[in-house]
Amino acid sequence: MLSGRGITKRFGAVTVLSGVDVSVAPGETLAVTGPSGSGKSTLLHCLAGILRPDEGEVRLGAERVDSLSEARRTTLRRARFGFVFQFGQLLPELPAVENVALPLMLAGVGRREAVAKAAAWFPTLGLDGLQDRRPGQLSGGQEQRVAIARALVAGPAVVFADEPTGALDSTTGAQVMDLLCGLAVRTGTALVVVTHDPEVAARCHRTLALHDGRPVPAESLVSGDARQSDDRRAQGAW
């Protein structure tokens, strides 16, 4: 269980997050939505140990994340978290399979074994036969699937996705989100997705809506045609 309590973050005189509570359980998917500048990515960075909140705390299970040293948080991110960004996260020189194998190699797994484990993810992601392609030879959707494989390959507790479909068309975006949510549920991984797209948020179990760094009811941000179904909608208690 990843949880944040009373998270407040300021950049200079500007308060970007103000007392946000959040939690996500294994196998659960959470969307963080809001307009630009609402503090979505800052919240993700605080939860992932990239930034330290000025107030409040972040815990992964019983372990306090925000009070760890920079080196410990780096290790934690590598070992327990996975990341999917909007674009540009793959090393352009490495073939797809080595990009996926990178977290394993960083953890000390030998190259041959890491590549074999990474390659096993490719059929699941519909990428069979593309192992040796470079990122530049893949479509945007394929590139994001490789990024998803990389985020999951080391068996993380939580995957953070920052606008994972931001650079994709709606059909491809939907496919990528289905894959991401489906794999998270299947592997028991918690998933935190930052997005400004209601369609994307609608594919998650719950939604946390932010405005000016504070939680607000999700309905206040969603236009009519992109409303979420009631069973998936956020229900207040964060």
Binding site: K9, F11, V16, S36, G37, S38, G39, K40, S41, T42, L43, L44, H45, C46, A48, I50, L51, A71, T74, T75, L76, R77, R78, A79, F81, G82, F83, F85, G88, Q89, L90, L91, P92, E93, L94, P95, E98, L102, P103, M105, L106, G110, R111, R134, P135, G136, Q137, D162, V194
Partner: protein, 644 residues
């Protein structure tokens, strides 16, 4: 479009200016080094313009004067002694003199005037026919500290008419500016030095220009996608590079001008320089600035070819850049050229030796540059097969574009080549034995049987204790008991036989000793220069590579990749190709020196020490230059959550 380009630079913020500054610094240093080398050539020419008349040729028509130029010594320093008998007092005088000196007149350079004041009269002044009556102006001096005495003689002065003296020549004018054989040798060596410096400098220029261009490739590709024509994209890209490079080249010229007073202290051919001599004229500086601008432009266009041909190609980097084995044919061709040069060296005129040798050096330089990317490719393939994320990342980056990956290490590779070339040469010349500095040799033009007795008598009368070892029939040897009285003995003995200089073996070999010293000094200057260039190139390239990949590097670090892994990948990316390329370059450098000295000379302690010191210092400099971009790597990959 040029306006747009400069506007992008102006509005690009601190990072755009930092990158432009990085490139500008590289180009400025490179241009300053090139100008220093050209300044040395200019200085040698200027020296020759002022002193060419001191290497006289016998007049064909009516002579205006009789002339003899020799080198005397005092206080361990060489003094150019010009004996001049005017036959036509109205004739145009040599440079630096207001008129031809009358018999008995003594004109000395300012430095010699100081020395005359510093030494007792019997140690130097009494060798001249009278007191000092005038000054030889700068226009007649090779360098500010040159010791020159112009002694006015009558045509029938005994010092001039001693039978058998073939040094006195009738001259028709003092306008000779052709280089003496010594000057030609120095010119040749300087041309070789220029050749040794020019390749690394051109490499640095090219790398710098290319890097600014690629830094902006993604933005330019966006322009291309928006429908800008090939020409428009090229103009936008190249205008900034050209502007920065040209401005930096101008700064480089000014830098060399500003450093000229310091450079003037580096002795060559016996002493320092007039500052103005080391500043090439605007006729040279302007083409250099324009040439550097043009080279930068061409390199930038080369770097942009992929954007221009296919904008998506750069944005999405579809195709790894291949390096073909056909390069080995080029290496073979370079070796053939060197073989031809080697054969030609034995037959060409002395004045062309420098150029021919420079061609040989450039051919082998070319071989280093051709083989470099192939080595990078092999090193990349080896690294990729190893365990560890850092090795795999480094190996893949090397394989991705071996030519680009070679650029950061090209400078050091060429510097190692230079070290390999110069080490055996300096070892060989420093192996020359030092001559005897204590025994004076008195050699009259005509055998004088009583000379030894007279010398002993005169020395005794003057209270100079001396031992006279047995000499030969035409030579008297005198070894003063105290080296401090050497100059007094020299003055005294010279008076015994008018027109004769009294010298030690070391004095006679002084020119050669100066040449040996110059070659060693020159080798060090060239080595320091090439390593400076190499360090600048490596530092620039390393920093630019970080800037190029900052987005991906930052995301990797956010995802938990330790910055040490990224740094380690960078280090491997440099070290692996450098070690192999360095070894090859060292071999080629030794090979290049082989026509002149036995390569075994490098095994001499001085050669090994030089090589070791140079390689260690150079590697440390380059390592420091690479490490200098470590804070940049940490800064661009630092977590910041300001978005969203």
């Amino acid at each position: 479009m040029i306006g747009l380009s400069l506007r992008l630079l102006r509005l690009g913020g601190r990072r755009a200016w930092a990158a432009a500054g990085l490139v500008g610094a590289g180009v400025a240093v490179a241009t300053a080094l090139l100008m220093t080398a050209l300044g040395a050539l200019h200085g040698l020419d200027q020296r020759e313009l002022r002193t060419g008349w001191r290497t006289p040729v016998a007049a064909q028509g009516d002579p205006v004067a009789q002339l003899r130029v020799r080198t005397d010594h005092a206080a361990g320093l060489p003094i150019v002694q010009v004996d001049l008998a005017a036959l036509d007092a109205a004739a145009a005088p040599p440079p630096g003199l207001p008129r031809l000196p009358a018999p008995g007149e003594v004109w000395v350079s300012p430095a010699l005037a100081d020395l005359l004041h510093a030494l007792p009269a019997d140690a130097l002044a009494e060798r001249y026919p009278g007191p000092v009556t005038g000054e030889v102006g700068d226009a007649g001096l090779q360098r500010p500290d040159e010791l020159v005495a112009v002694l006015g003689r009558a045509p029938d002065d005994p010092a001039f008419t001693a039978p058998g003296d073939s040094d006195v020549l009738p001259v028709a004018a003092f306008d000779r500016v052709e280089a003496s054989s010594d000057a030609l040798l120095y010119r040749s060596l300087t041309i070789v030095a220029v050749a040794l410096v020019v390749f690394p400098v051109a490499g640095l220029l090219g790398a710098s220009a290319r890097l600014t261009a690629t830094r902006r490739a993604d933005r330019l590709a966006t322009l291309r996608l928006l429908g800008a024509s090939t020409r428009q994209v090229t103009t936008v890209a190249v205008a900034e590079t050209t502007a920065v490079a040209t401005a930096a080249a101008a700064v480089g010229v000014v830098l060399e001008w500003a450093c000229a007073p310091l450079l003037a202290r580096i002795p060559l051919a016996g002493g320092g320089w007039f500052t103005a001599d080391l500043r090439p004229s605007w006729m040279v500086a302007v083409p250099v600035v324009l040439g550097v601008g043009a080279l930068a432009t061409l390199s930038a266009i080369g770097g942009l070819r992929r954007v221009v041909v296919s904008p998506l190609g750069v944005v999405r980097r579809q195709v790894p850049q291949r390096v073909r084995w056909i390069r080995l044919l080029g290496v073979a061709a370079a070796l053939v050229v060197f073989g031809i040069v080697n054969a030609a060296l034995r037959t060409v005129d002395v004045s062309a030796v420098g150029l021919v040798l420079a061609a040989g050096v450039l051919a082998l330089f070319g071989a280093c540059v051709l083989i470099g990317p192939l080595v990078v490719r092999v090193a990349g393939a080896w690294l990729v097969r190893r365990d560890g994320a850092a090795s795999v990342i480094a190996g893949r980056r090397l394989l991705d574009d071996p030519r680009a990956a070679f650029r950061p290490v090209a400078g050091l590779t060429l510097a190692v080549f230079v070290a390999g070339f110069l080490a055996p040469l300096t070892a060989a010349v420093s192996g020359l034995s030092t001559e005897d500095t204590t025994t004076l040799h008195l050699r009259p033009a005509v055998v004088a049987p009583d000379l030894r007795d007279r010398a002993e008598q005169e020395l005794g009368a003057a209270g100079i204790a001396a031992f006279l070892p047995p000499g030969t029939a035409d030579e008297v040897l005198v070894r003063p008991g105290d080296p401090a009285v050497l100059d007094r003995a020299r003055t005294l003995l010279g008076a015994l036989v008018p027109g004769t200089l009294v010298q030690t073996e070391a004095d006679r070999a002084a020119d050669q000793a100066v040449l040996v010293g110059d070659m060693r000094r020159g080798a060090f200057v060239v080595l320091i220069g090439t390593f400076l260039v190499a360090a600048t190139a490596t530092g620039t390239a390393a920093a630019a590579r970080v800037l190029d990949h900052r987005h991906t590097l930052r995301l990797l670090r956010l995802a938990g990749t330790p910055v040490q892994v990224l740094e380690s990948a960078r280090a491997r990316e440099t070290a692996a190709p450098l070690l192999v390329n360095g070894a090859i370059a060292l071999g080629l450098g030794l090979f290049c020196a082989s026509p002149f000295v036995a390569v075994s000379a490098v095994a001499a302690p001085s050669g090994l020490v030089l090589l070791g010191v140079v390689l260690l210092a150079g590697t440390a400099t380059v390592a420091a230059a690479t490490a200098a971009s470590r804070p940049l790597l940490r800064a661009v990959t630092a977590a910041d959550g300001s978005r969203g």
